[in-house]
Amino acid sequence: MEQYIQGLAYVVGDAVDTDQIIPAEHLVYSLKRPDERRMYGRFAMSGVPKAEQGLPFGNIPFTAPEAYHSRFTFIVGGTNFGCGSSREHAPFALTEAGARVVIAESYARIFFRNTVDGGFVIPFESEVRLITRIRTGDSLALDTTRAHLTNHTTSEVFLLRPLGDVADILKAGNVFNYARQAGLIPARP
């Protein structure tokens, strides 16, 4: 996990469920084969209703039509981000599109767990309702160690909740590396 991450914000609302993050019809693609896995980047966040795509403006696709990568590094959401299904394809799709960090007021349990154990986007939590303080396209900088977020566009600074004990898994890269370092499973063959 890098200490400093910079990039543009993509803002969505409350209860963005996994069908909005990656609609179920796309779950047929392989997450391994390069020619198929890029489809997850193309369709990441494509289930969000148009009016709520890229708040407060709306009608801003996370990944531009026909593209495979997003120009947004940070996803800023409200409460219960990632609710719904257990599909790990959801955090995978965000990572495949190029996102690095999600900052939400709260997360659904399985989505949060998948981001951490699979080593995908870093899931920070904010006590402040950032979706009213950050706009899509704002330039953000995050110090992951200090949980310190700067909005360069507005010059506002926010202190996010510390990552807590999941930081150890995030630092290890994923739950397999963590379990190996802790001696819980044998070394990789």
Binding site: A24, S86, E88, A108, I110, N114, V175
Partner: protein
């Protein structure tokens, strides 16, 4: 300790556990399907080696159920990947498509095949894995990575959840079903009202329910964010198990002095038929409030609302009548699909009642509950307004982002199918 805490402690080989602590537990059954199985296998091979063996082939259950009756070649390829893996690993519990073993929706099939056993710990690559908790066991959904770790080691880390207790008392009126109770709970506490917590269902009205109805309660624990839903086993549970498995199990109950995060009481005799309005499962309204809302289609199916008793309820309303909107009937499993032919109401099979009413009959699978490939039976393609016995109505859940889905009980869905508008089952039940 609560039933959830006791089961977790037993699987961590510890005398007791406390909510909030993270523990490593042994998994009794891992279940996966055609959507999450192939990527789980990829991770398993990446981490444990191309020739690695699963930790215990008898404990891995593979049930393709999501995208089965489709021409989508990627979806068909994924079922083939499961087939190859099941052969490689000599898995005894693979329920292959196109064979007499094919079952359909995993959460219902796990019960039918005897994998749900009191006191046990079951993990699945599907959020509705919480359904199995109706059998007095711990069950929850995980992603591919966690499932791959279990495939290799039989273990998973879990944070011990606090438990919320929902007590239902009173006699359930004939116009209400378990679906009304759980939609009321979700409406009360919200889609994140039970996040990171166990939901324990208790009270006389719960123990008066059949296993199929109990499964509707625990199935939708995830719609309130719950980690697991659980109901203590009783004579009804043991009766069901006798016909399904001879495997040993140990019944576990919450202690009288167990500590709960919160307690919520309901008198079911005073509750009303409810719906969840678009586009959230917690957007509850009484049927009376939304009666008359124009509909384009009705759907009876899924792990939540595609069990035999769901069809008996729907048929009791549709018997001798004709639907006025497209009405889809999708049994959760092949066993239920066959039972539609062999179960009679007043001398007519459920299947014939549905056909005579003008319903469209589908094959056992997850169907249109989660949209799926474009050619999925019953999938929304445009701006349809749908009333459905399924579990989620987030935007796009049944296929089209422009569609609107109301969630309701099979009784309410059937009554609405006859009227073409949302209708109160009390108006058609005599």
């Amino acid at each position: 300790m609560t039933i959830t805490e006791k089961i977790l402690a037993a699987h961590a080989a510890r005398p007791r556990v406390t909510p909030g602590e993270s523990i490593w537990v042994d998994v009794d059954i891992l279940m996966t399907h055609d959507v999450c199985g192939p990527p789980t296998i990829d991770i398993f091979k990446r981490e444990f080696g191309e020739d690695a063996r699963v930790w215990d082939p008898n404990k891995l259950v593979v049930m393709p159920d999501h995208y089965i009756f489709t021409a989508n070649h990627h979806a068909n390829r994924n079922v083939r990947l499961l087939r190859t893996f099941a052969t490689e690993q000599a898995l005894p519990h693979f329920y292959d498509v196109g064979t007499p073993r094919y079952k359909g929706v995993c959460h219902v099939a796990l019960a039918e095949e005897g994998f749900n056993r009191p006191g046990s710990l079951l993990i699945g690559t599907d959020s509705h894995t919480c359904t199995s908790g109706a059998f007095g066991m711990f069950s929850t959904g995980v992603g591919n990575t966690d499932a791959a770790l279990i495939m290799g080691t039989g273990k998973i880390w879990l944070r011990v959840p606090q438990t919320m207790r929902f007590i239902f008392d009173g006699a359930l009126p004939p116009y209400l079903m378990a679906k009304d109770l759980i939609l009321a709970v979700i409406g009360d506490i919200g889609c994140d009202g039970a996040t990171y917590r166990a939901m324990e269902f208790d009270g006389d009205a719960v123990y008066a329910l059949s296993m199929q109805e109990r499964m509707t309660l625990t199935n939708m624990a995830i719609e309130a964010g719950g980690k697991n839903g659980v109901i203590a086993p009783d004579a009804v549970t043991l009766d069901y198990l006798r016909t399904r498995t001879d495997a040993p199990f140990e019944v576990v109950y919450s202690d009288a002095d167990a500590r709960y995060y919160s307690e919520h009481r309901y008198d079911v005799s005073t509750m009303e038929p409810v719906v969840a309005k678009p586009h959230r499962p917690d957007n509850r309204a009484s049927v009376v409030e939304v009666a008359g809302t124009r509909l384009d289609r009705a759907y009876v199916g899924s792990c939540t609302g595609g069990k035999l008793e769901d069809f008996i309820a729907a048929a009791s309303v549709l018997k001798g009548q004709e639907v006025v909107i497209d009405t889809y009937i999708v049994p959760a499993t092949t066993e239920i699909g066959q039972a539609l032919h062999t179960t009679d109401l007043d001398g007519m099979s459920l299947h014939d009642i549905f056909e005579n009413a003008g319903c469209l009959m589908g094959q056992a699978s997850c169907g249109a509950c989660l949209g799926g490939p474009k050619d999925t039976f019953g999938r929304n393609m445009a701006q349809e307004v749908v009333i459905s016995t399924t579990n989620r109505n987030f935007p796009g859940r049944m296929g089209s982002k422009q569609a609107s889905v109301f969630l309701a009980s099979p009784l309410t869905v059937a009554a609405s199918a006859l009227a073409g508008v949302i209708a109160d089952p009390r108006t058609v039940l005599v």
